[in-house]
């Protein structure tokens, strides 16, 4: 293979290009924050997961301690089953509870782990039953309206409804 006087420049070009790809992956993307630690699987059951998605974070005190792996529906208990991978370096007590919280007002939803007070720690395959579901806006509104109606004056419509039925 003949040597060319352009070889140096081509090598430099390829190096610059590869450097740009590396910059995009590391600085602009999140390659370095990818966790290669060992994890153990844990399952949590929720009545309503709201907008929780796979690969959402599991945080405790605001720090990421795990990831949501998959979300499925259990048709025996009619609850959502969320499979999470918790990092092995953090041990949580067996009676820890999980809540679905929102990061910021319009942000993505994540799972917040509150540690319990048990002596034994969670192991792989544990099921978390103490859970709090996501806040669903419609339920909140209907609750608010119900409370408002309960506080309001005695409804005169109640009496007229009875008259209407009699007729």
């Amino acid at each position: 293979m003949q040597k060319s006087r352009h070889d140096v420049w081509v090598g430099l070009f390829v190096l610059i290009g590869a450097g740009a790809v590396l910059f995009l992956a590391l600085k602009a993307g999140n390659l370095l924050s990818l966790n290669f630690d060992e994890t153990y699987p844990v399952v949590a059951k929720f009545d309503n997961i709201g907008g929780l998605k796979a690969r959402a974070a599991v945080k405790s005190a605001g720090v990421v301690v795990g990831r949501v792996e998959s979300i499925s529906f259990d048709d025996k208990t009619f609850q959502a089953k969320v499979a999470m991978q918790m990092q092995k370096k953090f041990a949580f007590p067996k009676d820890s509870s999980a809540k679905i919280l929102t990061a910021g007002l319009l942000g993505e939803q994540y799972i917040g782990m509150e540690p319990g007070a048990a002596d034994k720690n969670m192991v792989a395959g544990d099921v978390i039953t103490q859970t709090q579901s996501a806040v669903v806006l419609e339920n909140l509104i209907s609750q608010f309206l119900f409370n408002k109606a309960a506080d309001g004056p005695a409804p005169a419509s109640g009496a007229s409804a009875k008259e209407g039925v009699k007729k």
Partner: protein
């Protein structure tokens, strides 16, 4: 050509189909001689210099200005919703997912594509390709294939440089000029840009665009009329076809990659 005369329409259709078939055969030839070409890598390196290195300054400066504009426009719109600090994320995602591969491919078609077409067209009109065939040297293997692999190698690198310089340009306008917090600029970006889903897909797009643009340029040069007018028409056709192909492929690839 009389569009209402079925004879001319039929003849034109047949001619166009023959053209497409010929182009497909050329693509097949290019893939078939890949082995011998890559073994003689010095030829490919030479072409990477002409096709890649020489386009670097154009791509870098364009990337810088596109980054400037993205940051400015992004800031004007985002600050109406109180989300001015997401401008880093906006610039990075726009560049890495779409603008990097597409604009680089369009610029590449205009700069390197036209030079490839003109060079091959002139070689054809100067009967150099025929002379090579007389000497039992396959012109596809000796001339076209190194340029094809040079385009294949250079495009992803150029697109990455475009995106990287664009992000830097966006940073320049946002942080020193407008005054957005540097920490939020980078942390919002790092939180929102996925490596494999965004950067990886962008690189994949640029590879596909590189193949498309380089192949169109080589094909137009190889199949042109061996006259000065023929070469000039082929050069124009390269830019038009390559640009349309890049934009159409962009839609198809985006639909495949970023579907929910």
């Amino acid at each position: 050509m009389n569009w209402f005369n079925p004879v001319t329409v039929g003849a034109a259709t047949r001619e166009w189909l023959t053209d497409v078939g010929d182009a497909t055969r050329l693509f097949g030839r290019l893939l078939a001689v890949a082995g011998p070409t890559l073994r003689r890598f010095g030829l490919v390196t030479e072409q990477v210099f002409f096709v890649g290195n020489k386009s670097l300054s154009l791509i870098a400066v364009s990337g810088l200005f596109v980054g400037f504009v993205l940051a400015l426009q992004g800031y004007y719109t985002l600050q109406r919703y109180g989300s001015a600090e997401a401008v880093g994320l906006l610039v990075a995602l726009s560049l890495v997912r779409e603008l990097g591969p597409v604009v680089t491919a369009l610029l590449f078609a205009g700069r390197a594509g036209t030079s490839l077409t003109a060079e091959i067209g002139l070689m054809k009109s100067g009967e150099q390709l025929a002379a090579m065939e007389m000497m039992a040297v396959d012109p596809v293997q000796r001339v076209l294939s190194p340029r094809f692999w040079a385009g294949f190698i250079s495009m992803p690198l150029l697109a990455a440089v475009f995106s990287a310089v664009g992000i830097f340009g966006g940073w320049l306008v946002s942080v020193p000029l407008i005054g957005i917090d540097s920490g939020s600029f980078w942390s919002q970006m790092q939180g929102g840009v996925e490596v494999w889903a965004d950067v990886g897909n962008g690189v994949l797009k640029s590879v596909v665009f590189g193949v498309a643009v380089t192949f169109i340029a080589l094909r137009q040069g190889h199949a042109c009329q061996p006259t000065p007018e023929g070469v000039s028409a082929a050069t124009t056709r390269t830019v038009v076809l390559a640009s349309l192909a890049v934009l159409a492929l962009d839609f198809v690839l985006t639909a495949m990659m970023f579907s929910i």
